[in-house]
Subunit: 287 residues, 2 copies
């Protein structure tokens, strides 16, 4: 994403806990600084992208955090996937300093990040959104960059997507294990179901690329999907809404983590099912 | 489907338990006869399409059934959705009389049946399949009419599709109820998720048409999806394969039936979730 921002001509200051992780970005002309506050001092728009809610609080609200370097009129954009309540808390802290805030989580995986074709779900006010649009255009598809509501709503829509991602991938793989055990061919099932009422993005993309091939190369870590499903269940709990299938799917990914697949692609959820059924859901490469 | 066969020029004999149900087909030139055996006597290819496994056994193997009217060299095609084991049993009974058999369940709903654009998943032998292709071409899309394996495999692939249909529809609606409760807009969620990793056919078609509109006009009866999921769970039980998400989804549709939605569209599974959450997942028509 940083490389795509550089390609689009934006001057860039960058902070990372592990500076060696951003060497390629520095080589592309970004200035490495020593704190989130220093990024804010050097910038008009600050983007944060970290793992979970406490990380966002630390990097924006904590010591040497973004808010220690901001000036009134700036904009802070958090592109992490975190709790909507945390996004609202950070948004309020920004507003107190007359700083705009957008929560702008993305979808599209490492592939979309590299290609600059991410989907971006934005929560915030329209003037702030419009000011950041040129930046979003450098990392995502403009037609899939949408203002979805007030601050926090970007996270809500992202978590709903992650719920579906988790349920659909686990459900599709569970069904395919049964189909293989019952004598059907994986490629044929994928072709028929892909053009039928069971068709879904998970089947056509991560499942085909990373489960049918047996590589389970991430893609997207099982650990991160579990984190996202945990956020879904926390939000549902706070709102008193049952998400039965989401809760069951999360337990299936916990099995994958217990088997050592936390840092593998989340489609590795199929491994346990394959083992108990005594079959494998694979497509042999064409010779 | 009968009307499409007539349109394609096939002479047609027809039997129905309730003759008044096929008046339109008779008006289109089909000959009404008084038993499945009489259909077989008048035909080279016999198609059965009924609700469940026992119905297929009765209409093909029972008194005055298809097998009482067949001649060697004919083909029997069952297009119902039933247990793969029943398809194999009927296929063996046909083979004993030197009659070909195909199990050929369809996907695409009443809409696809009317338009002649069904997906057809066929189990059986290739020469038999090729002989029936012109008939399939009158009711389905040729590019989605596939021989998927030996007798019974058509049903396996159909049931895998129905598992996905059930899990994905219930999962998507569960997620949307949570999203609405958390303050997101239905149309916006559908647009963003439809172009993201949670995208699926259920969202773009039955859910959009029949749940977001609040009509729950079938479509496809909740009762029939429960029947299909029951077949999935029976097959999984026989093969000792856990289908956890499929089992949970089935219970959600049982709730819809208990609420009186058995003869409504299966997307009515959302009603119970809406009631407990105190929200509705609707899109207001554009004025």
């Amino acid at each position: 994403m940083c490389l795509n921002l550089r390609k689009a001509g934006f001057p860039l200051s960058i902070y990372a806990r592990r500076p060696e992780a951003v060497q390629e970005v520095v080589d592309a002309g970004a200035t490495l600084v020593d704190s989130p506050a220093a990024v804010a001092q050097a910038s008009d728009i600050v983007i944060t992208m970290v793992t979970d809610s406490p990380d966002v609080e630390q990097v924006i609200l904590g010591p040497k955090g973004v808010l220690e370097g901001v000036r009134p009129g700036m904009v802070v954009v958090d592109m992490s996937t975190i709790a909507p309540a945390t996004a609202r808390k950070v948004g309020e802290a920004c507003a107190e300093r007359q700083v705009g805030f957008l929560d702008a989580p993305v979808s599209g995986g490492s592939q979309g990040a590299v290609a600059g074709t991410l989907t971006i779900m934005v929560g915030g006010e329209r003037p702030t959104f419009e000011r950041v649009l040129p930046v979003f255009a450098a990392v995502g598809r403009p037609e899939n960059t949408l203002l979805v509501g007030p601050v926090g709503t970007g996270q809500v829509v992202k978590l709903i997507n992650q719920h579906l991602c988790g349920v659909i991938a686990a459900g599709t793989l569970e069904a395919f294990v049964l189909g293989v055990k019952a004598g059907a061919d994986v490629e044929t099932m994928a072709r028929v179901i892909g053009s039928s009422s069971g068709g879904n993005w998970q089947l056509d993309n991560p499942i085909r690329l990373r489960a049918f091939s047996g590589t389970f190369e991430p893609g997207f870590f099982t650990d991160l999907l579990v984190k996202d499903l945990r956020l879904v269940l926390q939000m549902a709990d706070q709102l008193k809404v049952p998400v039965t299938l989401g809760a069951v799917a999360m337990q299936m990914y916990e099995v994958a983590r217990a088997q050592g697949y936390g840092r593998r692609d989340y489609t590795s959820v199929v491994r346990h099912l394959e083992e108990v059924a005594g079959v494998e859901v694979r497509v042999r490469p064409q010779s």
